[in-house]
Amino acid sequence: MLKNILLQLFDFYQYLIFIYCLVLFGIYLMLILSSRAAISKYKRESLTVDKDILLRSYLSPGISVIAPAYNEGVTIISNVRSLLTLSYPRFEVIIVNDGSKDDTLNKLIAEFKLIKTDYACQQELSTFPVRGYYKSVDRAYQKLLVIDKENGKTKADAVNAGLNAARFPYFLNTDVDCILDSDTLLELIQPFITSHKRVIAVGATLKMANSCEFDAGMLVRAKPPKKLLPRFQEIEYIRSFVTGKMGWSYLNAVPNVSGGLGLFDREVALKAGGYDRHSFGEDMEIIIRMSQYMLDNKLEYIIKYIPVTLCWTEGPESLKILTRQRVRWARGLLQIIAQYRKILFRPKYKKLGMLVLPYSFLFELLAAFIEVGGIFIYIFLIYTDRIDWPFAIILLLFVYFFSIALTTLSLVWNQIIFKQYKWHEVLYLCFTALWEPIIYHPLVLFASLKGYLFQLTGRQHSWGNMQRKGFVQKPATSKT
């Protein structure tokens, strides 16, 4: 009797998982199609926007670039110079020195001729105390404002301090160690000014900078990472941005805008309460918070992604750092789902409540548990000799080829549109993709489970700040 009930429950579980997988594959197929539509739309729309007009016009909306810095003394000068050379008619660069223990602030003061100055701004968001505001006496650095504050332990606190001091209606949130394309602001502002609905956030593609060549903070030549771990991440990023986020963008259901690069509506961010300084996933949290604010006030909004690579960031090369990063991401996801559980499946919150959060919960958070559960059941079936090998292999092949096809499609698509790499480098990435489900995916899965466990047990872990190695410097000859 009990055995029958257990067997029936087991059958029911299998059917449930089967439907789960069908829905997941269906969503992936939908994302492939919608990302294709989104990219085509982007290409068409970009034909009508003349960047020269945007660059010359005094009507271009102002943008505050906010970049928190913590112990970045090694690279701070070249990175700030890179930010100051962005092509845009009206912008300011706000560097928030988040209580660095090294010589970050002194280097900034010496290099940019900074002096402590009177600065009055409304403290709309509470942050750790600001020790001073610094402006340059050299007119060449008029756009630069350095805020020196006590360490707030999180990036969110530093960005909030920058948000309080920002003067312009839009702000770019980036990391000071990211290398931005000189056209970043020109590209990211376009969705805000071409849309008839209110756009509250725009993101763009990030890629690994590990093997790229730079000259004075500018990208000279994009190259896929040589080391295996960053190369896997490169593949993961391209798939996530080109297929995932572009697809969600077409459906106006973007779950998050990357913390490395995102342009936001300052007014909405402030009204929504700014960044949550206790969150492990502050980039996703701010998007949900801003969306919730708009929906609570019955205001229409759009969150967009553009398929252009505008930011290069150094990816972890060691397993230890990668694990730390992914543990933090997983903790952030679980924290957000718990924090916003009241929005989950509530029709009042439209796509946010019925699509964005349910997808994150069912197919990102639960996926790790289902996957591990599947592996255990597989082992159990092999052990009890109840497995049908031909069918099992067919299903494994199906999952494997689906994953490879999705990744390869994203890689080739990305290359056809933007031609950032040489074709043999794309082929190289395509071959790496063959190993990703076998080598890289289990590592990420393990880190995610660890993150969930840490979050559930309230265990502390290191933030995951990586030791910067710096980028390959080469004098500019040609840009690929």
Partner: protein
Amino acid sequence: MVCFVSNIRGSELMQAMGLYERSPFFIQLAIVFVFLLVLSLIIIYTVLFNRKFTDYLSDIREARWKPITQDLLIEIISETQDLPRNKAFDVDRHLHKFEPFRFSEHNHRRRILINSIVDLREQLSGNTKKILLYIYLKLNLQKDAIRDLDSLFPRRVIRAITELNKMGYVLEDEQMQQLLTRKNKYIYHVARTYYFLYHSNFSIDVLVERGEKLSAWDEMELFSTISQLSEDSVPQFAQWITPQTPEDLVALSARLAVHFLQFDAACQMHQLLDTCSDWLKIRLINAIGKLMQAECEKGLIARYPNEENPEIKKEILKALGRTGGDLSPDFLVRAFLDETDFNLKKHAALSAFKSMPMAEIRELPFFDRLSTDETALIQYIKNPLINFN
């Protein structure tokens, strides 16, 4: 999905060929998908190699023909632009140099030549632009673009209009008007720019007829296009600053009136303030301030206490800092002292400083009795290191 395999009563002796027929439905589905996915991978790799090959061919052609066409164009330019008078025959003398390359017969070569002319024309200025247009017309290169105006592919039409625009080739007024009726919004956008640049007697009414709401970019682009024209070739924009015109076009007209210093438009703007939306009110007050019409000062001051929207109040304060009337300084100082909103206080102070010299402000009786926050705000506003624009 993997655990589902336990349920299958498949035979261990199942042969590879018979596997499909004897499988349950979902396994059949998986088999089909595996084949489809393998096929799609093969297609992707084929596309990859094909792209690489076509890129390679295209690069070869470009590498061969681009330097030739560019050298040829630069040679003609350098031999003709310094002549005392650039008569047509000066250029005509050199046109035979194009003949050996048979640009008219080879589409690809002709496209490279056109692109080179367009690029050079964008980079160079003065007489060179005329020479390049002359070559373009003499070689009858515009015929491709004119033919493409009727193409069914929007991308081609857009490329054609852009090319004609960049070359400064003027179509008949009727043809331009016709392009504006195209339903495709991307074609319409480029046609609209072309219309405002080259139509002999343009009117904002074409935008009213289209009935499309302007985005911030549309406004920026139209403003940038129209503001390139000379003062005597533009109409009086006050004629569109009326309650009948859609608000986005009123805002555009107000901005253009400011650019072309059409001071009379200020009265129309002021009259419209009583009936328009907050959004337009902000824009009109901004324009009134920029037109520096002191006669509107009284009206703006009277309006200030009745407005609830802080953005409108902010614009009034900014406008009063520009109008330069006699009433503004006192009003602004009072607003600075009375306002509790940080932003309004800041803008009142900024405008007060604009409308009267610092020395005069220092002598005002309240100056020594300011609160710490107010003093900090004054220090901030006086700070020469901060650019408030």
